[in-house]
Each structure stands twice: as structure tokens, then as C-alpha cells.
Amino acid sequence: MFHAILFYSFAAILVVAALGVIFARNPVHAVMFLVLAFFQSAVLWLLAEAEFLAIVLVLVYVGAVMVLFLFVVMMLDVEVEEIRGGYTRYAPLGIVIAGLMVVELAQVIWLRGKEGFAVDGFRPTPEGYSNTEALGSVLYTEHVYAFEIAAVILLLAIVAAISLTMRRRPGLKQQDIASQVAVRAQDRVRIVKMASEKPE
């Protein structure tokens, strides 16, 4: 009961936040709504005792991705009204597609219930069960191949991004830190010994 109350209240906030992302007039507000939505989804995962996923969601999306998002959004001067024009025009189509997807998802759930697939309610995990450990052991055994491919894709993404963006501009002044560190006093300062003189 307590569990259900928590679930529905957080889910309600999640829905409100998701709507806020779409309807916020200010792009920065939209991003902040998205952050809130991520937090709420993390809480829902926590309620399902998937603490690893929940915390990683906050760590990766809220802590890194959305910060960069915010970074970009703040730098850009987004004309919200201009985008809004297209928004109302495509809204009916969007609503139709959203409705279709709801129907489809409902159908899959219904189908899985019908065909003798066991669908259980929420079952609390036994004492001492670690979601992180369970996930790690599956990731490094059963799905190790996919996991390694994902690593290769990240390497590829780095290579691709660097090859597309890095350029050596001629005439750019760069400091060579190693040579700065390696500098010694005798290279820069010349100490001249001279006899002291007396003013006449």
C-alpha cells in the first residue's frame, strides 16, 4: 500500500515533468524539467530495487549529459516562438503517433498475459541481494560479447569525432608545457659579474 502510494506519486511527478519539458517556453526550464524527469525515473527504479540503474541514471544523465545539454542551451539563443509555429502544425500527427504507441504497448502487455507467459507483480528481492553484483555478473558473462562491442563502438566514436573536428590551425600559438617545465635558470638568466663602480 505504502509502496503503491509512493509509486503513483512519483510517477505523477514524472508525467508532469515530462509534460513540462514539452510545454516550457524557456529552453533552460525545459532542460531542468528533463532533469526532474530523470530524477523521478531514478526514484521509480529505486522502488523496484534496481538501485544500480537508478543511481547510474542520475550519475550519467543528470550529472554529465544534461550538464553539457544545459551548457549548449545556455550558449544558444533559441527562438522558442519560431519553433512553436511548427509545433502546433505537427501536433495532430504527434498525438496520433503517441496514441498508436500507447495502443501497441498495451497490446504487447495484453498478449504476454494471454499466451501463458507468467507475469508477476513486484516481488521484493531477498536479503543480501545486490543489484549491482547481479548486473555485473550477467554483463561480464552472458553479455560479454555485446559489452565488448559497445566498448569498440565508443572507441570508434572517439576516432570518428576527432577525425572530423580536430584541425591544426596554422599560426596558432600553443604552449609546450614540457619545455616550460624543463626550463632552467641558466637558460633564461645570465648572471654577469662586474666590478663595483664608484660614482665620481
Binding site: V108, Y145, V159, S163
Partner: protein, 479 residues
């Protein structure tokens, strides 16, 4: 985990290690000696090919808890893809050097793309398949945009990326449906679940199949998901176009085989109709629009769409003969495509891209040997006997007739006749027009040698197709 569990994946592991070697070595190679990277890449391909051959057996082995499969089909495809990527690298070398584009990243992205293709060819789960596809696509997007200063390349890369992302999304959405309905990601388990629960053959699963076919058709470049193909072929630099036009076609065929045949073979009746519509449209639109092109890369793009129509019709039959014909068609088509784009590269030089069909005018007067080679490629693609394209088309038509669709066979013959027009136009320009440009080709001897070999192969395979055909039938039978 011990070594024997991962040893079936030896080719992929070798290639990954070699990519890392090339990546690190390229860092220390000075720009003037960038050719070292090229030779290292060729060496990587050679080592990979050697590993594929050494580990080959006629058995089918599953690895990584069933997400990886090593069977004769995957090994044949991998070997061909490795070879054709090597040929592409060789053709590209002098061109890249002349145009100041010789950078390690071209080879790295090419090798990464090959890795993605190999992952796809050996994928036995929807997840692995998707990851392999993403590896391939990501390398291709970056390769198309490889020349940063060119606005045209950037535009086509952007188009390719946006449309490719949508197609990946469609595929993933379809995958999620199939997973939701069957409850498993592995192809053999999906087939098993569907066999045991005939009730699953219902709207939700069809829905998933439709979305997956959208994704597959996009990767193939089949109508109506072909919009990116001519633009990308034209916008990318010729060596990149050569890369895109060849090996990824085998990977796309693997995608089709693994998902539709291995996983959803039981539902042949469901996807047959969708494949047919896509294939027929590709045949018609590819061949007809190609006639209007004046840019040879664009023309070859539309011709690729038409060829994809043939491949899809061969798969459409759902018979082993059909699958073998599709495999044979794809393997021989990429040989011809590699040669044709090799010729485009050969004719180009510093600051000049031989893109217009006009640029082939009077090739016979300039260099009769390579004019003859181009003639081989064009006749091969048009399907004129005794070149190999004829045998390939004949096989497909045969399979379609066997499956009981004489109407489609007639359509294919008609489409071939229409298609012959634009191939013959190139030949007409080469032999019966005066040359406008008399510059000398700047390729090195090894490139010319391989290109000649490529041309002769198109003819030789046409005269002696038996062994390859038998190999294709064997491979399909064993998988």
C-alpha cells in the same frame, strides 16, 4: 571463461587487436610516410583473412552464450568482405595521396567498418546484430564526412546520418516488438518459440517484422528507403563511395539472412509480401531513374538500387536455391562495383573528380586496356553473357520461376533490358566518342594490376561460375 569459449570469434578479436595496432602506429607515422599506415592496414586485413581461413570448418559453432555464431556462411561472407575492403584500400591509395586526403583515419574507419560487418555476419542475437550495424553505420557516416572542407560531403554525411539514425530507430523498435512477443533475443530461440506457439503469429509480431524490414531496406538502399543512396554515392569522395558500394552490401545481406531467415523463417509467408513490394519498386525505380543520370557515381547508385531489387527477389522466394542465388548475386555484384568505382578513381587525379559520364569519352583512344576493363564491368552489371552478371541474374530468375512467380521473372527480364541502356551508354562514350581530356593515369603498377585482375575476374567468373555457385549452395545448405 577459458580460451576455447571465445576462439570461434578469433577473426573479430584479431581484427580488433590489429585496429589498435594501426591506431597506435599511425600516431607515430610522419605525414610524408603515411603510406606505412596503408601497408599496415593491408597487413591487418591479410592477418584477419588468414585467421578466418585457418579457423574454418564446416561445423556451426555458437559462442558467448549463443550471441555469436560461426558457420560456413559467416566465414565465406567475412572472407569476401575482408578481401573487397583490401581491394578498395588499394584502389584508394594513390587518389588519397594526390588529394591530400591520405590520413590514418580513412583506414581506421574502414577497418572499424569491416569489424562491424563481421560482427553482423556472425550475429546470432538481435542485440549483437544491432551493435554490429551501429559499428558499421558510425564508421560510414564518418567516412562520408571524411573530407571536412567539402560542403557536399558534409551535406551528404548529414543526410546519411539523419536518415540512418531513423532507420536504426525503426530497426530497434521492430527488435523491441519481436523481443516483447517472443521473450528472447537469440535467433535460434526466436525460431523455436514461434514454432512452438503458433498463436504468436499475430499482429504484434507482424508489426515488429514490418519495422525491421524498414531498417533492413534502408541499409540495403531499397526503394522506398533509398533516398540517401544516390546523394551519398555522389557526395562522398570516390574511395569512400567504393567502400560503401561494396562490402556493406554483404553485411546487409547477412542482416537479412540472420533476421528473416534464421530468426523468422517460420513466418516466411508474412514477410514475403513486404519484401516483394520493396524489391519490385527497387527494380523499377532504380533502373528507370538511372537512365536520366549524367553523373556516373549517381548512376551507379541507382544501378545499385536496381541490383538490390534482384537480391531481395532472390530472398523473397524463401527457398534454398533462392538464398544461394542471392548470395552469389551479392558476391559477384560487389566485385563488379569495386571495379567500376576503381575505374572512376583511376580516371581522377589531383583536383579533378571523374564523376561525369562524359569523362569516360574516348577512353579507348587513351588507354584501350582499361577501356576494355570498364567494358567488362559494364557488361557484367548489365547482365550480358558470358560475363558473370548474366549468370547471377539467371540464377535469381530461375529461383523465382521455381517458386512459381513467372510474372516477376518477366518483370526482371524487362528491367534488365531497360538497365542495359545506361550501361551501354558508358561503353558508347568510351569507344565511339573523341576524348576531351588526354591526361595520363597516375596510378602505380600494383593498383593497375589488381584492377586488371578485377576486370578479368568478372569475365572468368562468368565463364566458370560453377565452383562459386556450388560454394554458395553448400554454404547455404550448411547454415
Amino acid at each position: 571463461m577459458n580460451l576455447s569459449q571465445i576462439s570461434p570469434a578469433a577473426p573479430e578479436i584479431t581484427l580488433t587487436l590489429m585496429i589498435c595496432v594501426v591506431l597506435l602506429a599511425d600516431l607515430f607515422v610522419p605525414q610524408e610516410k603515411r603510406v606505412i599506415t596503408f601497408w599496415l592496414s593491408i597487413a591487418s586485413l591479410a592477418v584477419t583473412a588468414w585467421v578466418i581461413v585457418v579457423t574454418a570448418s564446416s561445423a556451426t559453432t555458437l559462442a558467448f552464450d549463443g550471441s555469436y555464431v560461426s558457420d560456413p556462411l559467416s566465414r565465406l561472407m567475412k572472407l569476401c568482405a575482408t578481401g573487397i575492403v583490401g581491394v578498395g584500400f588499394l584502389y584508394a591509395r594513390d587518389y588519397l595521396q594526390q588529394n591530400d586526403l591520405l590520413k590514418g583515419e580513412y583506414y581506421l574507419l574502414g577497418l572499424f567498418g569491416l569489424l562491424g560487418m563481421m560482427i553482423m555476419m556472425s550475429a546470432n542475437s538481435l542485440l549483437t546484430m544491432y551493435l554490429g550495424l551501429e559499428t558499421l553505420s558510425l564508421s560510414l557516416y564518418a567516412l562520408v564526412a571524411f573530407e571536412r572542407e567539402s560542403a557536399k560531403a558534409a551535406e551528404s554525411a548529414m543526410k546519411y546520418f539523419v536518415l540512418g539514425a531513423i532507420a536504426s530507430g525503426a530497426l530497434l523498435y521492430g527488435i523491441s516488438w519481436v523481443y516483447g512477443v517472443t521473450g528472447t533475443l537469440h535467433f535460434h530461440e526466436i525460431a523455436e518459440v514461434i514454432r512452438q506457439n503458433p498463436g504468436l503469429n499475430d499482429v504484434p509480431l507482424w508489426f515488429g517484422i514490418a519495422f525491421m524490414i524498414v531498417g533492413i531496406a534502408f541499409k540495403f538502399g531499397a526503394v522506398p528507403f533509398h533516398m540517401w543512396l544516390p546523394d551519398v554515392y555522389q557526395g562522398a569522395r570516390s574511395p569512400v563511395t567504393l567502400y560503401i558500394a561494396t562490402a556493406p552490401k554483404i553485411a546487409a545481406l547477412a542482416l537479412l539472412f540472420r533476421i528473416l531467415v534464421d530468426g523468422l523463417g517460420e513466418l516466411h509467408g508474412v514477410w514475403q509480401g513486404m519484401i516483394m513490394v520493396v524489391a519490385v519498386l527497387s527494380l523499377l525505380i532504380g533502373n528507370i531513374v538511372a537512365i536520366a543520370q549524367s553523373n556516373i557515381k549517381r548512376m551507379l547508385g541507382y544501378s545499385a538500387i536496381a541490383h538490390v531489387g534482384f537480391i531481395l527477389l532472390a530472398v523473397f522466394t524463401g527457398s534454398e536455391t533462392g538464398y544461394a542465388a542471392a548470395l552469389f548475386y551479392t558476391l559477384t555484384y560487389i566485385v563488379m562495383a569495386a571495379g567500376a568505382f576503381g575505374m572512376v578513381i583511376l580516371l581522377s587525379r589531383q583536383g579533378f573528380e571523374a564523376e561525369a559520364i562524359r569523362d569516360f569519352k574516348g577512353l579507348n583512344a587513351r588507354n584501350p586496356w582499361f577501356a576494355l576493363m570498364m567494358l567488362f564491368f559494364m557488361f557484367g552489371m548489365a547482365g550480358v553473357p558470358p560475363w558473370v552478371g548474366f549468370i547471377a541474374k539467371l540464377n535469381v530468375i530461375n529461383a523465382v520461376l521455381e517458386a512459381g512467380f513467372p510474372g516477376l521473372a518477366v518483370l526482371m527480364v524487362l528491367a534488365s533490358v531497360v538497365g542495359a541502356y545506361y550501361y551501354l551508354r558508358v561503353i558508347w562514350y568510351m569507344y565511339f566518342d573523341a576524348p576531351e581530356d588526354r591526361s595520363v593515369f597516375q596510378s602505380q603498377a600494383d593498383t593497375r594490376f589488381v584492377l586488371s585482375l578485377n576486370g578479368i575476374a568478372v569475365l572468368a567468373l562468368g565463364i566458370l561460375p560453377g565452383w562459386l555457385l556450388k560454394l554458395c549452395i553448400d554454404v547455404i545448405g550448411h547454415s
